[in-house]
């Protein structure tokens, strides 16, 4: 063991330690931000350890600089520019590129024989290519669906897709088995093509609303791809880090499913769910089945707000879609200026990604103290005068508590039905993500205010101004 090997080894060791600490810290609110920094530091260290150990030619350095500059800069710009609400698709894109990187390495080794040619390396190459390709195409499809660029074709909702996917998997397997005989031959390309198509075929049928789960799963895959690449180039650090991320991603996927009351199998093989899930502009769906609905105008709602002392806003997916967070903030300011107590009830899985509402309202400069978590606000509803539900549906469905046959049964919800008066702002009687009726809409204390969330909020604000609100602050 030379000095530089020993040093490199110590650095690798430290890097793994820091990575583990980083992953651990990321799962706790307090430490999350510094843990992220720690993980980044660990990555830097790992690169350092590698560079110490491997002598590089000038040409190699040139290519490294070019590659880093392009990738790093693109990442930097992307990370700065992208709007907060587009986080899931951004993560999907990053993730896909990670898978692509593992894939390219494996291709390089296979095509040009830049590694040992043992059985282990062979298997590792197959895994790297297979998982890397699935991760890449799957992530891109996930991103496309979240952005609304890609629709869910009809045939993917039928049983046909299972047949297609199985055929693709078999094709990939055939390619994989013909690899040992001819590492750089047609088998490789068959494997690559089949895996790429499989990534599309598996992700395409899944509803846009389930995408965070899928992305988390694909993220776990990209860890596996990294570990496989570790076997290909013989780097224990890469194996450890890849395995760690792969396993952690799996757990996170499971945790996410539990949080939104679904099973992973159902997400993967159950097809798209709910009316609102197809894309960010989704909605509509089955309006039948409601009787006893009271609807009211923005004016009536404004009158109720005028007399209220305590108002709670419940933002949901619809608010995000309508991009109405700023309008909401303006309305809240008017009320506050008038002495009304305003808070926001944040359900953990409101919206389409975990933490969606925190991010959304933080973007509109809502003071952090006014965002109240579900467990803290539920006991407060009985002494609340007016609740305004803004494009939320499932997260305020009282059936989740009472009706054991409901698909939502067991999911903790915001108990807005306890409040004196409830206004529900949405465009129609359409269902939410879970695609089911909401008993809240039929309660006597509930009134529907139909319309786009942003339009209604702006309307409410101008009604209030007409009532003399906001004069003082505007002066």
């Amino acid at each position: 063991m030379t000095l530089s090997t020993a040093l490199a080894w110590a650095i690798d060791l430290l890097a793994v330690l820091l990575l583990a600490l980083g992953l651990k810290g990321l799962s706790k609110v307090r430490s999350a931000r510094s843990a992220n920094g720690l993980a980044a530091l660990a990555m830097g260290l790992a690169v350092l350890g590698l560079l110490i150990q491997q002598p590089l030619s000038a040409v190699a350095w040139l290519w490294i600089v070019i590659g880093s500059a392009v990738g790093g800069l693109a990442g930097l710009v992307m990370a700065r520019r992208v709007p907060m609400t587009a986080m899931p698709e951004t993560v999907a894109l990053f993730n896909g590129c990670g898978g692509m990187a593992s894939l390219l390495v494996a291709l390089g080794v296979a095509l040009f024989g830049a590694g040992e040619a043992g059985l282990v390396e062979g298997i590792s190459i197959v895994i790297s290519v297979f998982v890397g390709a699935i991760t890449f195409t799957g992530s891109l499809v996930a991103m496309g669906k979240l952005q609304g660029w890609i629709d869910t074709p009809g045939w993917t909702q039928s049983q046909v897709r299972h047949g297609v996917n199985i055929a693709l998997a078999v094709a990939a397997l055939v390619g994989a088995f013909s690899l040992p005989a001819d590492p750089a031959g047609a088998g490789l390309w068959l494997l690559l093509l089949a895996a790429s198509l499989l990534g599309i075929g598996v992700t395409l049928p899944i509803g846009g609303a389930d995408m965070p789960v899928v992305i988390s799963l694909l993220n776990s895959y990209s860890g596996v791809a990294a570990a496989a690449a570790g076997f290909v180039v013989g780097s224990p650090l890469l194996i450890v880090a890849g395995a760690m991320v792969g396993a952690a991603g799996l757990i996170l996927t499971q945790v996410m499913c539990t949080a939104m009351n679904r099973s992973l199998l159902n997400v993967l093989f159950g097809g798209a769910l709910g009316g609102g899930g197809g894309g960010p502009v989704g909605g509509g769906g089955d309006e039948a089945g409601y009787t006893r609905i009271t609807s009211c105008s923005a004016e009536e709602c404004a009158l109720a707000l005028e007399n209220a002392e305590r108002v709670v806003f419940v933002p949901g997916y619809g608010l995000a879609v309508a991009q109405a967070q700023h309008a909401l903030r303006e309305l809240a300011k008017l009320l506050e200026a008038n002495g009304t107590e305003v808070t926001y009830a944040i359900h953990p899985v409101a919206g389409r990604m975990p933490g969606h509402m925190n991010v959304l309202l933080a973007e509109a400069d809502v003071p952090y103290e006014q965002l109240v978590e579900m467990d803290a606000i539920n006991p407060e509803f009985p002494r609340t005068d007016v609740v305004i539900v803004l494009g939320a549906n499932d997260v305020v469905n009282p059936d989740a508590k009472t009706d054991s046959s409901s698909p939502l049964y067991g999911m903790p919800v915001l108990e807005v039905d306890q409040a004196r008066q409830v206004f529900v702002v949405k465009r129609s009687l359409g269902a939410g993500y879970a695609g089911i009726k909401n008993a809240l809409f039929e309660l006597p204390q509930t009134a529907m205010v139909f319309g786009d969330a942003k339009v209604v909020l702006n309307g409410l604000a101008s009604e209030l101004r007409d009532l003399g609100f906001g004069k003082k602050t505007a002066a």
């Binding site: 980083g22 990555m43 491997q54 590089l56 930097l76 390495v105 690449a229 395995a243 396993a247 933490g355």
Partner: protein, 108 residues
């Protein structure tokens, strides 16, 4: 003990460690954790670097390695930055007290 068996041990233990590390994550942290873990999976850039270092004078291999490196670094740099941006949002404690007293902005 052979190299392969040991490498497999490393794989097994790394996975077990990963399973243990993530315990109870509050839902608000799911997205940042996902994005942070995603950035870490960009560690595959080590493989890209190794490929380049082994490429010798082979231009195709060098280009392939550089492309792989670019993809990986895109993942890493973007991932960490975006995670940090998100986490900054989550932890902005009471720093907005003042901003809530500011004059209402003109609506866009």
């Amino acid at each position: 003990m052979s190299g392969l068996s040991q490498a497999l041990w490393v794989l097994l233990l790394g996975s077990l460690l990963g399973l243990e590390l993530i315990g109870k994550v509050p839902p608000t942290l799911h997205t940042p954790l996902m994005s942070g873990a995603n950035a870490i999976s960009g560690i595959t850039m080590l493989a890209s670097l190794t490929l380049i270092s082994r490429a010798g004078e082979n231009p195709a291999l060098l280009a392939l390695g550089a492309a792989s490196l670019a993809f990986a670094l895109f993942n890493v740099v973007g991932g960490f930055l975006v995670t940090d941006r998100m986490l900054a949002m989550f932890s902005r404690k009471s720093s907005n007290r003042t901003s809530s007293n500011r004059k209402p902005r003109v609506e866009r």
